[in-house]
């Protein structure tokens, strides 16, 4: 046994902390998950991101062992956990409502998992103290959960999950019950804690901002399928389709048809009346239905200059409908020639006055900032 473990140590490094292979789950007629496969590296902070009902929570609960998949396999550090009940998986979970035991003190809550492992009382006290210090709740041991604020309850739930030194930390929308300010604080705190402890973590959320600011890797899900996975910057810069372009960050999206290939990975697209140059790695034929996506911050506005020279590609006339002050940014809503209103962000540089409503402007963006994606 000992030899086996020793021999396995090296190969374990390479093994993913968690693997899902073809995991499927249906409820009656409704498929909650269609054959999901994913792999999480040891120590990573992975986000399952998607709208409600996309299957992200089902996935998490299958990993935790609360739901049994209909097909496929879940492997933790290379070993299948199918048929292993939740209490023997050694995973730490934080629930959306925290699920603190109301009849137990903070100490008893955090100590619960250690008591279940029959750890001697001295060691329990020491480990609980360290866990509470990590979440900055030292001195709160004798309080009951109802006497704590939402943020403090959240920290207790976190301490209770990490004190057992779990193989994986599973977080189910842990921040959605907190107010905005606290949520932003907890984001960096959870990430710092996760990196300090090196616990492989699966974080479920519907909040794309949470995902892009915290994640090492994001798995975008919709209707029981994985749509795209990758680093936050990769998903932001190269969304795989219209859904991802819309869900992650903000995009001006226009359905259209491919007109012609004009260069390597460069296409001319008729986007609802705008003839645009756009980049995209897909293999399209003229006439294919696609969507073009442009991030608001990639667009530039300029006043119309009478008798200007040769126009750069993707330059269109527009009329400012409104300007929304957003602190560091100005968000313009501009009606373009084809009748639709696009969003354009500009830094609120001091000194330059905002363009007034009904001003006529030129709207311009570079072809490489304009993506052709499948229209789905």
């Amino acid at each position: 046994m000992t030899d086996h473990v020793a021999a396995g140590t090296d190969s374990r490094k390479a093994l993913p902390a968690l693997e899902l292979v073809g995991v499927r789950k249906t409820y009656g007629e409704v498929a909650a998950l269609h054959e999901i496969s994913l792999s999480v590296a040891e120590g990573a902070l992975l986000f399952l991101l998607g709208p409600s009902g996309c299957g992200k929570t089902t996935t998490l609960r299958i990993v935790a062992g609360f739901i049994r998949q209909d097909a496929g396999q879940v492997r933790i550090r290379g070993e299948s956990v199918d048929g292993v009940p939740p209490e023997r998986r050694n995973l730490g979970m934080v629930f959306q409502n925290y699920a603190l035991f109301p009849h137990m003190t903070v100490f008893q809550n955090v100590a619960f998992g250690l008591r279940m492992r029959r750890i001697p009382a001295d060691a329990v006290r020491e480990r609980v103290r360290r866990a509470l210090d990590l979440v900055r709740l030292g001195g709160m041991e004798e309080r009951y959960p109802r006497a704590l604020s939402g943020g403090q309850q959240q920290r207790v739930a976190l301490a209770r999950a990490i004190v057992i030194e779990p193989k994986l930390l599973l977080l189910d929308e842990p921040l959605s019950n907190l107010d905005l300010k606290l949520r932003e604080e907890m984001r960096s705190e959870i990430r710092a804690l996760q990196k300090a402890l090196g616990i492989t973590t699966i974080f479920v959320t519907h909040d794309q901002e949470e995902a892009i600011t915290m994640a090492d890797e994001i798995v975008v899900m919709n209707q029981g399928r994985i749509i795209q996975s990758g680093a936050p910057t990769a998903l932001y810069d190269r969304p795989a389709n219209r859904f991802v372009a819309h869900f992650i960050g903000e995009s001006n999206l226009e359905s259209g048809k491919v007109q012609a290939a004009v260069g390597p990975a460069m296409w001319r697209v008729d986007a609802g009346g705008l003839s645009v140059l756009a980049t995209g790695a897909g293999r399209w034929q003229p006439g294919d239905a696609v969507a073009v996506a442009v991030r608001p911050e990639k667009i530039r506005l300029a006043p119309v200059t009478p008798g200007g020279g040769a126009e750069a590609p993707n330059t269109f006339a527009g009329v400012v409908e409104e300007c929304i002050f957003r602190g560091a940014l100005r968000r313009y809503r501009v009606r373009l020639r084809h009748g639709r209103v696009w969003s354009v962000d500009e830094p609120s540089t001091s000194g330059t006055p905002a363009l007034p409503a009904s001003a006529t402007v030129r709207v311009q963006w570079r072809p490489e900032d304009c993506l052709v994606v499948p229209d789905s």
Partner: protein, 267 residues
């Protein structure tokens, strides 16, 4: 206008309370009378109907029988009722609504019918008249109350608490024992207290299942008042009331119904 309405409402409330409590108060006062017959208000006060209880061994025996019967009924009905409530509240199984209706039926049917049915049932199987027959009869009529009160707390119980316990290493039974049961304790205690009280003063079921040697207190009192009006009735009834009051006080101490915090976390 509203002040007047409030006054009228208050008056009606007071009358209702008076109507509910007055008979009990009268019995307690009468029990301290010195006369040889029931007298209200008593002309003189005395403890003779308490000190003289020993002269009525039938009553003492009946009192003990009822006490033991109620305690046993409460224990058995709480176990069965709690299991039933878990089954009905948590699982979808064939016959669930039938079971739910069956459990409810002693609540809806007059106790008299349940009593007759039990009598027929027992004679069908030719069982001997015994303490067990009484116990079974009482359990049948009290289980519904336990099921109801436990079901009520289970509905509000946040099951992610059990999942949290499972995730931390507790097997299903340990999670139930350490998390679920302590949290739903008010419902359990309420059910147990209900069962005790209902058994302790039950007449309609007991009357079909008693034997000359096994007479619960309510039946003993009932039989006695048919032929006599001695204040012993009042003193033994007062003891009966005392048992119930003590039980309620202990239950309140045990779970503190009034201040117990139910449920998971703050919204």
């Amino acid at each position: 206008m509203s002040g007047q309405g409030r006054f009228v409402l208050g008056g009606v409330n007071a009358l209702i309370y008076l109507f509910l409590v007055a008979p009990i108060v009268v019995v307690v006062i009468v029990s301290f009378g010195g006369a040889a017959f029931l007298q209200f208000p008593p002309k003189q006060l005395s403890l003779r109907w308490y000190t003289g209880l020993g002269e009525y061994p039938d009553f003492l025996r009946a009192f003990w029988l009822s006490l033991v019967l109620a305690a046993a009924t409460s224990a058995v009905a709480t176990v069965i009722g709690t299991l039933g409530a878990f089954a009905i509240a948590r699982h979808r199984f064939p016959g669930r609504s039938f079971l739910s209706a069956m459990v409810m039926s002693p609540l809806v049917l007059p106790g008299l019918i349940t009593g007759i049915a039990l009598l027929q049932f027992f004679s069908l199987f030719r069982t001997e008249a015994s303490f067990w027959r009484l116990l079974i009869g009482h359990v049948v009529v009290t289980v519904p109350y336990v099921v109801r009160s436990v079901q009520a707390v289970l509905v509000g119980f946040d099951r992610s608490l059990e999942e949290a316990a499972r995730g931390l290493g507790a097997d299903p039974w340990t999670a139930t024992r350490l998390i679920t049961l302590p949290i739903i304790k008010p419902g359990l205690v309420a059910g147990a207290v209900f069962a005790f009280i209902l058994s302790f003063d039950n007449v309609v079921v007991s009357i079909f299942l008693t034997t000359p040697r096994l007479v619960p207190l309510p039946i003993q009192i009932y039989n006695y008042v048919e032929s006599s009006a001695k204040p012993i009735i009042a003193s033994i009834s007062t003891l009966q009331i005392a048992v119930i009051v003590i039980l309620l006080l202990v239950a309140e101490k045990l779970v503190g119904f009034s201040r117990y915090y139910l449920g998971g976390t703050e919204p």
